[in-house]
Each structure stands twice: as C-alpha cells, then as structure tokens.
Symmetry: C2
Subunit: 357 residues, 2 copies
Amino acid sequence: MSAKNGVKIMVEEIDARKKKILQAVIQEHIISASPIGSRTLAKKYNLDVSPATIRNEMADLEELGYLEQPHTSAGRIPSDKGYRFYVDTIVKKNINPAPSSIQKIEHIYDDMKSVQDIISGMGKMLSNMTHYTSLVSEPKIQESRLRKVQIMELEDNSLLIILVTDTGMVNNKIVKVQEKLSNKKLAYINKFLSDKLENKFLSSLTAEYLTRVEKELLSRIDISAEIIKQIYSEIEDVFEPEDVKVYLGGTSYILEQPEFNDIERLKKVLKLLEQEDILSSLISDFSDSDLEIRIGQENGIEDMQNCSLVVATYYLANRAVGKIGVIGPTRMEYSKVILSVDIISDLLGKLISKASR
Amino acid sequence: MSAKNGVKIMVEEIDARKKKILQAVIQEHIISASPIGSRTLAKKYNLDVSPATIRNEMADLEELGYLEQPHTSAGRIPSDKGYRFYVDTIVKKNINPAPSSIQKIEHIYDDMKSVQDIISGMGKMLSNMTHYTSLVSEPKIQESRLRKVQIMELEDNSLLIILVTDTGMVNNKIVKVQEKLSNKKLAYINKFLSDKLENKFLSSLTAEYLTRVEKELLSRIDISAEIIKQIYSEIEDVFEPEDVKVYLGGTSYILEQPEFNDIERLKKVLKLLEQEDILSSLISDFSDSDLEIRIGQENGIEDMQNCSLVVATYYLANRAVGKIGVIGPTRMEYSKVILSVDIISDLLGKLISKASR
DNA sequence: TTTTAGCACTCATTAAATTAGAGTGCTAAT
DNA sequence: ATTAGCACTCTAATTTAATGAGTGCTAAAA
C-alpha cells in the first residue's frame, strides 16, 4: 500500500510480486544459463499473472538494475545487483543449520592425517559437493601459538630447526652453520628458546621482541653471533611469511560451466588460479565473518568479473585462523553452495583441532 | 646405393631425401599445427625438387606409416611413428650439452630454499622455458638414507616424530599416545632408534627388519607395547608411501595449444592432471635412463593419446631419485624441450644436493 | 487503474547453400 | 627419375535463408 503513493516508491522499490519474479528469473537462469523470457516464467512458476504482466514487471526490474537484457529481443538475465538482492533477502533466510549426518564424515578422517592432508582433503570434498572449484587457506601463523621449538643437529654442520604451532602446523628448516655446537650448548639454546618463545601467540613475537631475545641469548652463551643470527633469521622467516599457502581443489569443474566455453575467458581464469600470490591475497582479503559472498565485480579482479566467491572462516579454539570457500560462475547455486561451505568450514575446524590437540 | 637394389629396401626404407622431407614436414607442422602440403615444403625448404616429386615421396612416407592424411585432399601430418623416427634419428643428434650460462641460475637459488621449494620452483622454470606443463616427482624415499630420526614430546600426550633423509626431505608426524613418557625413556628410545635406523638406506629398512627392531626395543624398555607400535606404524607409513608426490607447473600452458581448443579433449586432460595418483604412477613408470621420450599412444593413457612426455631422471649422489619432465602435445618442440629438460634436471639435482648437504 | 490478449517487430541462432582454395593423384612429357 | 599440367576432392569460410523465442506497444477487458 505504501508503495502506491508515489512518495515512498524509492523506499520499497521492489514489491512482493517483483521479488517473486526476480527470484524466478534467477532460479531459472541458474539452471539454464541462458536468458529467461516471460512465457517461460508464466509456465513454470505459478505466478498467477499473464506473460504480458510479467513483461511489464521485468521491464521495471531492468530499469531498477536487477535484470539485464543481452539484446533487444532476448529474455532477461540477472545482474550482479540482482544476485546480490537474491542472496541477501531470499537465499540467506532459507538456510538451515548443518544437518547431523555430517558426523559420519567426521569419523572417517578421524586422526589419521596431517593438517595439510585434512585441508586439501576438505577442499576436495567441498568441490565434489558443489561441483565448483574450492579454495582453502592454511591456518594463519599469526593466529597460532608456538607449541614447541627445537633445534637439533644433523651430522656435519647442519642444524634442523623445528617449530610446531598449536594449530598442528610443523615447520622445519635446515640451516648450515660454520661452527659445531656442543650438545650442552645446544641444550642450553633449546631450553632458552623454549622459555622465551613457547606458548606465546606468534603475533606477539614481533621482530623487536625477537631481536631483544636474540641479544640476550648471545650475552649468555659463548658461541659466534653468526649462528644465533642464522637461527633467528630462520625463525623470523617462519613467523612472517609473505603469503598464506592456498590449496586449490576441483579446478577442472570450471570447465563444466557453460560460461567458460569461451576458451579465452577460461584461459584467463586458469592463469589466475595458478598464481599463488593472487589466490593468497584474494582469500586473505575476505573478512573474518562466518560467511562472506562476493558477487561478480565485487571481487575486484578484472578477469574474474563473472565469478562469485563464497568464503567462510574456520576456527580453531575460537580464533579465526583460516578461510575455505568456493569459486564459481556468478550464476552459482548459492543456496547449495552456502550450505556446503558452511558445513565444511565447520568440519574443517573440528578436524584440525582434533588432529592437533 | 644399397637401397637401390630391391633386396635391401626394407633395411633402409628411408633414404636421405625421404628423411629430409619427413623432417621438413614435422618441423613445419610443429610450427603451424596443421597439415602440410607439397607446395609449402618446396617453397620453404630448399629441397631442390618439384612439388610433384615431393608428393610422390610423401605418398611413400604415408605408406610406410610415417605420415598421415587427415582426409583425401589435405596435406600430411606426422604420425606417432614419424615423430618417433624424428626424435630418434634427427633431433637427438643435434642436442649439445648444457650451456654454461646456467651457472648463473644456480646461484640465484643458492641455499635459501627447502627441497620442496626447489622442486616446485624448478618445475615452474621448466614450464616457463618450454611453454608446456611440467611434472616433477619428489625424491624417492626408498633411494634415500635416513639421516636423522628423533622423537620429541609435545605437551599433553602427543609425540612428534621427525625423520630426515639425506635428500633433504623432512617428514614429521604428530602421534597421540595414552601414556606419558619420561624424559629418560624418550632419550633411550631416541638413542636406540638412532643406532638401529640412521644412515641406513630406506630400502633396507624392510617391514621385517622394523618388526624385529620393534620387538627388541620392547624387550629392553618398560613401556606399553601400544606406544611403540604407534611409533613404528608411523615410521613405516613414511617409509612406504603409496605414491610419490608429484608437482605440476604451468598447467595453463596447455590452453595455448591449438589441439586443445576442443573443450572436451581439454577437459579430459585437465581432469587427468588433477588426479595425483595417476600422475604419480605415470611418472614413476619411466625408466631410470637419463632421458626418456614417450610419444602419443606410447604413454598408454587413453585420454592422453595426443600428448608426448619428455622425462629426465635427476640424481643425488649418483642415485636416481626422481624425475622431472614435460607434458605437451605430440606436436611438440622436441629439440627445445629435450634441451630444457636436460638442463633443468641436471640443475635440480645439483640444487637439491647443495641444499641438503 | 490494472491486467491481458493481440500483433508487429527484432535479433540471435541454426541450417542450408555457395564459394574459394589448398592439395592430391595421375598422366604424359622431359 | 623428375616434372608440368590438369581434373578432382574435400574442408573451411562465407553467404543466405529460415526459425523462433521474446519483446514492447496498443487497445480491450476486468
């Protein structure tokens, strides 16, 4: 009613019927990947109005920016704005929480895998569920606590530095040194590092802190500054990685999407997916909200304008440590994908904490 | 001359001129990716004969199986057999050893990387050099010597098992145990494992040997058989992996090949490249010769009939530990690829041994 | 005032027809 | 043994025509 008196038109620009029609267009387009006409809608969805009325409504929706017309005499396809509206007001409401059937899966992966295996396994599972390409980032090192640091000597002049985080990640580096360390000195260093570093959040182990500790160690033990420096620089490397590692799964599912029958477009996207640094910054750019959706141009990458991303955060001990998500065409089965991403992100967190606990 | 007297025709079925023509067809086809006609050859290659003569020779070459005709009035394309001949008798001769300019590259990667980084980096470099997809397998664990084994305790009831091979690979596993081990016992176990396992070839550490050692340890120390068993099963897991890990590089280069403009064919190959187990057995199937080439159907995989593989072995301390190679269309720039693979495999071996020494 | 039937018009897609040209194989001359 | 000449073949590209889904507008109906 309020929509009828001119003044409030802007406020409620989409009435119930328009909404219904928009939804119908999108759902149909998700299935068919081609423009949708008024007759089709009238037939398949019981909208109780004639094609002519639907045509009028669609013209309105186009004017408002929710639909687009590839050419004059074609049907309509949803715009990014249309998908955004769809996702925000129609899909999200109807998502119900993860079904309990998942607990079965949880057991399969029980305790037999390393964190890396779990991550790539869950990525693959997600892409199998959704038939889109999946994307998973490793737990952020900054959000982890250092659980164990230990240096051991290999024969000759190599040291092996082991760093274990509470997220189950094990980092190792082999360092070559000039000088042989006595067992006693090594034990002392290990003890010292343990005391100073273990159980601290890696974000609190700043470069300044490390430098201070380095100096302190140097003053207490009689070995060359060189070795200590080497050890520390390796430790720092681990703590401040340029990029989070990203695991890709189901890349070939992209080929099943008709929008990538165009080889040129396909090439561009596949090239992108090969560049680890881009993937890394792409996924890191998502907020730590439970689930974020970027539709079409929203993702900001030129060659991915017709892709959407659905990305969830996974948690370890209530810390948002990593992301897992799906990349597919803008014309994506959002409701299914959202559900899957939701379930799998949850599961991923559980499995990793189980494995690293 | 001998070819001229009927009797020896079979022995030397291809005379110098045929060879020259075959070579010309192949070289031209490698460039153009389409059938080659007699006129083109006569024009571009100074064969000093007329197109008509070339036609006759090409008809012969087709009869002998070196060339194929897509359809009656098209030019000829090389068959697998043609490529095989080309590679064996024409290309290989003209390959000269790695130029010394490589030493520059060697320095770039000097000692700053882990073995995994070196492997994937060299794979990428190879695919950038050749513009084909590269394939590298990790050093075979069986060909390595165990350099260090050490078990350490994380807090609560987790143990971290570290295994380092002389190929620079560091394996780690976190194992959960029921019982807490005293430091003394742990030290004893470490000493014991060191003595029994270190510096042995992993191929000599058979399941039987391990079982024997396991029993011996159990008889000497007072802890539950359970823990020992867990530890051993993890160690065994590392020693007997199902698959070698394979690194892929430059997958998107496939798209630049016109033979994969057919989306269906492309899809099949990309699907294959996603299956780690297939890649692993594909590359493992190559002999330990310096360089092996499989052309077209020779590689035995249905969906890769129009692909060739050029695979070299890389060595650590004179042991053939892994493979590195290139996968591309049968119509591949063999001479360039062979050279590149040769250089890079050599470099890879050097870099890994430098990094792990 | 809103909805709907009717109709002329648009435009992409598909199929069919046509053309162009590269290449062959054969024959007869060199 | 080689080559010029020529008829023939077959693909790939281009043009043309046909199809049909879909629209926007108008005027009548609700």
